[in-house]
Symmetry: C2
Subunit: 242 residues, 2 copies
């Protein structure tokens, strides 16, 4: 059987998240429906991870197995024709049969976009979280250092998270300000449920001067959840590295 | 009576254009409904000009007369509370009673946004026009010079345009490329119906090497319409100067 890799961009606004549900309105369901029609069989895709309702992706990665001998160029064209405009498969490539988009992921980068202008942009209302108080990016950068390296992230994940271990490693956090938007890139070896959104909430508090690096260090040690969850609509699965 | 100026940003995607129609789904209707409720009277706003279905604005300007003694700060808050998120009144200011947002406009700038990446961004599908062939920005800049200054724009407006004179003056055209997007800023003393979209269509042809500056000069002289109309969704009323 052939193993086909897909790289996907999507605007998550209209969907109930990535993962297949009984109902149709998930990104996975939409892609599987088109692939199944294309190959005249039942295709199930496996992605690097799910994304929640309203979360977007610049570079989700998925793969699927098929007996079809259709060329990857033709597959890409077919997907472009039948998928809605808010789901774009920008790369289709045949990979080694052992490749698994979830198990083989070495690191993931998430982007969180904050609209910090004097008023909320109507063009980014679904693509960024609006924060009215002016955030101090230098304070955010300072505080973000507390997350770097290996930590138990129990204090920064949802109680719904049921992983065996809550230890994860953060490789880098880059915070860039441009035209009143603040883009936070978080790169790590894995992320727990809601982890990025809770970390971002802490960084927003830091940008308001409410907490600092040492407060975050104490939160990590305490393993007690204190911070809120930042809104889904500012979050993007930015890149998956293998 | 007080004369109140409004500066407005809007995402035109959901609307049938700016101008009030019998049905509710225009930007003007939405704003007038909220202002009328706010002042407990019938408010009619006058804008710098209409925008078509799907066209956006970064800085539309409008004004209205009222006997209300509500402060402009309170008005701004009220508008924020009752307008949908895709219409943002970001400035409310009392102006001289003689100020008229249409008659007093000295110049207008339109922005046209082209997505010229290798695939169409799902995030800009309503906010830019996608052109798959790689455009040569230098050729576009060269060709754009033909439009500068005063010309009869009969060849670059819709047959529906019914102005006494089709002579308009273009002050500047700035074309900037960033992250695979091409932003065209056109500043002039006035614009005929569909004029910007037809000019942009000519510039896209120029970017593909199909026509050049001298072809556009000939089109202007001929007064015969040759170019298509670029899609509405890439167009923004960017700024109005008084």
């Amino acid at each position: 059987m052939r193993n086909i890799l897909l790289k996907i961009q999507y605007d998550g606004s209209r969907y109930k998240g990535f993962q297949r549900l009984k109902e149709e309105m998930t990104i996975q369901s939409k892609i599987e429906a088109v692939l199944s029609k294309m190959t005249d069989g039942e295709i199930l895709i496996c992605a690097s991870g799910r994304t929640d309702m309203g979360v977007h992706a610049y570079g989700q990665v998925a793969n699927f197995k098929t007996n079809s001998n259709m060329s990857t160029t033709k597959m890409k064209k077919y997907l472009k024709e039948y998928l809605p405009e808010d789901i774009v498969v920008f790369e289709v490539r045949e990979v080694d049969e052992r490749f698994h988009s979830r198990y083989n992921a070495k690191s993931k980068t998430y982007l969180y976009k904050i609209d910090n202008n004097t008023f909320q942009s109507p063009f980014y209302r679904k693509y960024a979280t609006y924060i009215a108080s002016k955030l101090d990016v230098e304070l955010m950068k300072e505080a973000s250092e507390a997350f770097l390296g290996e930590h138990d992230f129990t204090a920064f994940c949802s109680a719904k998270s049921k992983k065996k271990s809550n230890v994860r490693k953060i490789y880098s956090i880059n915070i860039k300000e441009e035209n009143g938007f603040i883009n936070i890139y978080i790169d790590g070896n894995g992320f727990l449920y809601n982890m990025v959104r809770i970390m971002v909430s802490a960084l927003i508090d830091a940008g308001m001067g409410k907490i600092n690096k040492s407060d975050i260090e104490k939160m990590l040690e305490s393993k007690e959840r204190k911070c809120e969850t930042a809104s889904a609509k500012g979050l993007y699965l930015y890149r998956v590295m293998y």
